[in-house]
């Protein structure tokens, strides 16, 4: 209970700060949209091959925008040694992990809410009715990405060349999430249902559950040395 | 390249790389040991100076 209360408190603080500073969200929006244009110019997207390319392109866009968000994730705590102020308090460190993960999930979800329909418009896709299901899959993938991303963002907090290092260590670990979401989305686009790809869904949920648990358990050791 | 060529290529690469790594490791250890000896003698000097 205390864990959830602290999580909500910290998450609300981050949301409020973001509403004032608007640093992460705006750059992520802009970058996500920009990527769609870059994709359009650099790939010859034949309409009959959209089923194979759409999931991959969308996920590339989300991975890159998400990494932007992760790089900024602990920015609020850097000024004035605010991280110390949090660590001094009787807060459970797991709450900080959950709040930061949740915050990045919120940011990425907001970007995705805009980018997915935009993709459908820009690339003339017809399958609007599939978007809710696709969105659910993307959300599960986003959670997985943010969970590991938050742990690694905390781990690389004091490293030199932090922004470069983070994707370097994060992306190989993300392979199950990337493959699962892409296969699931492909299946949905092709057949309209998850159907045969159900094992991928289990893998994706398993990934989320395992690393949320690991994060809550070891985050106290990650954040203060 | 015949089959023996590939075999020798593989064996050659593996044992060369391992040998190089071993030599590199030995060099790093030697360097650290020299540094440590220097530090120890510097400490002794300091202690003598204090006494």
């Amino acid at each position: 209970m205390k864990l959830l209360r602290h999580t909500a408190l910290l998450l609300w603080k981050d949301v409020r700060l973001e509403m004032r500073r608007r640093e992460s969200l705006l750059t992520m929006f802009f970058f996500g949209t920009l990527l769609l244009f870059v994709f359009h110019f650099s790939f010859d997207l034949a309409p009959d091959r959209m089923v194979e390319t759409t999931p991959a392109l969308l996920w590339l866009a989300f991975l890159f925008t998400g990494t932007l968000g992760l790089a900024q994730l602990f920015e609020a705590e850097r000024g004035n040694h605010c991280l110390d102020a949090l660590l001094l308090s009787p807060m459970d460190r797991g709450a900080l992990f959950l709040a930061k993960t949740g915050f990045n999930v919120v940011l990425m979800t907001l970007v995705e809410i805009v980018v997915i329909p935009l993709f459908w418009i820009l690339f003339n896709l017809r399958s609007w009715d599939l978007i809710p299901l696709l969105f659910l899959i993307v959300f599960l993938g986003t959670v997985g990405f943010c969970v590991l991303g938050t742990i690694l963002s905390a781990v690389t907090l004091k490293a030199r060349a932090r922004e470069l290092l983070l994707p370097l260590v994060l992306f190989p670990l993300m392979i199950p999430v990337i493959l699962a979401t892409i296969r699931l989305m492909e299946n949905v686009l092709r057949f309209g249902v998850i159907g045969d790809a159900a094992p991928w869904l289990r893998l994706l949920i398993g990934f989320d559950v395992i690393f949320i648990t690991v994060g809550v358990l070891i985050f106290d050791r990650v954040i203060d040395v | 390249m015949g089959p023996w060529g590939f075999v020798f290529l593989a064996y050659g690469i593996v044992w060369t790389v391992i040998l190089l790594y071993l030599l590199n490791l030995k060099r790093r250890i030697r360097r650290a040991e020299v540094e440590l000896v220097r530090l120890r003698s510097a400490e002794d000097l300091e202690r003598d100076a204090k006494a």
């Binding site: 590991l148 742990i151 690694l152 781990v155 690389t156 004091k158 490293a159 030199r160 060349a161 290092l165 370097l168 260590v169 190989p172 670990l173 392979i175 199950p176 493959l179 699962a180 296969r183 094992p199 991928w200 893998l203 398993g206 990934f207 395992i210 690393f211 690991v214 070891i218 050791r221 990650v222 040395v225 | 390249m1 089959p3 023996w4 590939f6 075999v7 290529l9 593989a10 064996y11 690469i13 593996v14 044992w15 790389v17 391992i18 790594y21 071993l22 490791l25 030995k26 790093r28 250890i29 650290a32 040991e33 540094e35 440590l36 530090l39 120890r40 510097a42 400490e43 300091e46």
Partner: protein, 231 residues
């Protein structure tokens, strides 16, 4: 220190003898494979090296867990040493696989599940080494490394699963199937050659590991001495 050094010398000598015996059995005594011919001899290197690589990553995991739990520098040294040597053996495994693949499959690289998995392992643990080299403060480097070591190890089964499904669901099983063991009807001499080589790699592995571990200890001692006074 002296007896430790001597023990390491024995270990190294033993490894050398085993390696030479392994070379003799692998290159001379063992018969060529019925299907693959002489190229199959690369397997006497390939299998022991991938096993040592996996052993490394397991040791990284064990060392990382122990370090986070007890915070003893010794455990972190073990993890760091195992990671470095693990990267070496993973890279060698990929090189051997590639050289074996060229005459067998006709290409140096194919996105086969096992190859892909090994490449991902290499990427993860190269990331581990980079992370450690970019963190200046020692405790933080050790802690961060430990966290990455644990996460990476826990991720391996998931990556394994996803990469295998990715290939099997998407590509019809082709003639390029390395997951079917190439020594189905195995000759006893082949088995002996493989066993000797496996023992040789283990001895070599622990020899290298003990050297790398010793290097970590030396670095620690240098750091503490620098901290306490002396320039």
């Amino acid at each position: 220190m002296e007896p430790g050094k001597q023990r390491k010398g024995y270990l190294g000598g033993l490894a050398l003898i085993a390696i030479l015996t392994g070379l003799y059995w692998g290159l001379v005594q063992a018969p060529p494979d019925a299907y693959q011919g002489e190229v199959q001899r690369i397997m006497y290197l390939h299998i022991p090296s991938i096993l040592t690589a996996y052993l490394s990553f397991f040791l990284v995991f064990v060392g990382s867990c122990l370090y986070l739990w007890k915070r003893e520098k010794r455990d972190d040294n073990l993890a760091y040493a195992a990671a470095e040597i693990g990267v070496l053996f993973t890279a060698l495994t990929i090189a051997e696989g590639s050289i074996w693949g060229k005459p067998t499959w006709g290409v140096w690289w194919t996105w086969d599940a096992r190859l892909t998995l090994t490449a991902v392992l290499l990427l993860i643990f190269v990331g581990y080494l980079m992370l450690r080299s970019l963190l200046e403060e020692e405790n933080r480097a050790a802690t961060s490394g430990a966290v990455l070591g644990i996460i990476g190890f826990l991720d391996i089964p998931l990556i394994h699963m996803s990469v295998y499904w990715w290939r099997t669901l998407h590509q019809p099983p082709s003639i390029l199937r390395p997951d079917k063991a190439p020594w189905e009807n195995i000759h006893p001499a082949m088995l002996i050659a493989l066993t000797i080589n496996f023992v040789a790699f283990m001895l070599l592995y622990f020899y290298l590991l003990s050297l790398r571990f010793r290097l970590g200890e030396l670095h620690d001692e240098i750091k503490t001495r620098r901290m306490s006074g002396g320039r």
